[in-house]
Symmetry: D2
Subunit: 185 residues, 4 copies
């Protein structure tokens, strides 16, 4: 079972990344740190005669991860009540990716790629993070990806997520479920 965690923070060892570490402890996975990749914003050419043009950046690494993972974990700090801009640019580019002739199998692959969302914020994330979860739901619905679970964590200072008992308990449970999935393959 292949698992990829997309890490959308602008900080190293961010609280959201720590939450992903709790969820994936002892579970084989790869991390893609989005801020370390060169990802251009979408240029919407859906309605252009030539359509989308190949972009010379690192986005193929994202597509490759989507094509080879059974589970993808969208891990993001909550900046201004939604995902970080760097993760949003990654998501926006999906409009191009699902039309990219080099990857005709992408849309079908996603039908069986399970999505998990981990989001950590400092301003009442368990309430004010709900619109973000609804948006992820719409995103996965559009792509027909199964949205298996999400955790909203609360943290301000580096490392704070360890004090959010509820998020830590949810992460432990998800970790157990992932380990069960692996052992029963």
């Amino acid at each position: 079972m292949n698992i990829t965690a997309f890490i959308g923070s602008s900080r190293q060892h961010s609280n959201s990344e720590l939450l992903a570490d709790y969820v994936l402890e002892g579970v084989p996975h790869q991390k893609l740190i989005i801020k370390d990749l060169n990802i251009q914003p979408i240029h919407d050419l859906r309605h252009d005669a030539q359509g989308f043009q190949i972009v010379d950046d690192d986005y193929d690494q994202i597509i490759h991860a989507l094509l080879t993972s059974d589970i993808v974990v969208f891990t993001t700090p909550i900046y201004w009540y939604s995902m970080s801009g760097i993760m949003k640019n990654m998501v926006d580019r999906l409009s191009h990716a699902i039309r990219d002739e080099r990857f005709p199998q992408l849309k079908e692959k996603l039908l069986t790629t399970e999505a998990i969302v981990l989001a950590v914020g400092g301003d009442e994330p368990k309430i004010k993070g709900l619109p973000l979860i609804q948006q992820f739901q719409y995103i996965f619905n559009f792509l027909n990806m199964p949205f298996s679970s999400y955790i909203l964590g609360e943290a301000n200072k580096p490392g704070d997520i360890a004090n959010d008992e509820q998020a830590v308990a949810q992460a432990a449970l998800l970790n157990k479920q992932l380990k069960t999935m692996i052992s029963t393959l």
Copy 2:
């Protein structure tokens, strides 16, 4: 009365920009086309000993617009059910801007800067755009900016917004209200 429209689309003459044109027809304003500016993603250094560092890009134009406008119009296509990544990066940088020692007056200025949101999407925007509106509400609440109104428009192909009778009617009404405000100054 100064009005700035931030345009968050990746296309020229996008439907969202057209909607802004309806709202601002005959009303003096400036446009800031975000995709034509060099705006770096936020690097969250709130918890760093040195704090945020000066970023060498065009963001000061955004701050200048915020400091000099009575009304700001956040105009964005709805990409994947939220604002475009380029607009999100602009918003994310507010975390730095409101702590920037060069602009100590910014936070106080925003208390009286009226915010308008115009968002146009192709997939049931009047429903699936609601989480985006809730997020803008949280953003303006955090900044204590008055959130005076929003319009959710539906459009797919270039120019389609002209066919959304409801959005066009709302834009006409908002246009009338803006003209009244100007004439009574």
Copy 3:
């Protein structure tokens, strides 16, 4: 074309009812004033061996309206950020109605029954009424009813809705669209 407006207010001539009057001015329709009907809360017997039992109240009038209308207008004051309890009890009973052997055609009929929502509140309804709209969307989705439009109006004192220019403009547009639909039958 048959149109039924369900009126969910506890007051006569409520602001929400006035908004319905704007929308339906000059358009043939019937009104069902829910507070004047005897409607029992749902008793959830889905999992009971005998299933739902016939309830001796006025709910058949609701079912009859659903079976004979091309358009239904859910008109409700926003009490505590959602529909009124009397309208909620009416909605809850749909769980029984769609399983009622006396009305086997109800579910199929609803597939072509257009739904409109009019909701009026006093505390920032255009923002804080959005969860209510999302719930109606889930309701109509579940029933596969087309959800054609909604208006969120702001009003406190009796008659105040007349001062909500945006709601009045939206009502006028919807009124025009309904008249066009009728004239082109």
Copy 4:
């Protein structure tokens, strides 16, 4: 420490009530089964010259519970994506209660009454129950009640809630926290 659980289900031993039992296991509390009380829908007389009139039903039991509890647990099945109609009628009557001259201390008491929400549904409650949580947040905000936590559980058949590992884990954690609060009084 006084705890009251308001039970909004129309079934005995409903899944939502079971979830409350998990949360309150070993914790002294009282339950108010709303369906067993006679609670009239609100009659909105805020704008009437005489104001609200005394209603001859069991609502004073609700008010009494609010006046004497340190924690109140709103426990509801998710019917049609929001709280049950019987619980909604109870909530609607708060508009009267906070203006009731017989209970001038109610509004102030609520400032320190902690609210917990437990909601159980069968159709993707962890996503489609989010508007309900947002509404409760608006309600508690209006009343200035601290909204300490919520659990969204998934269940269809009687007893199913026991299979929602995440809800059960959250309930166990909340139970532990309540016991700690009691022991440190």
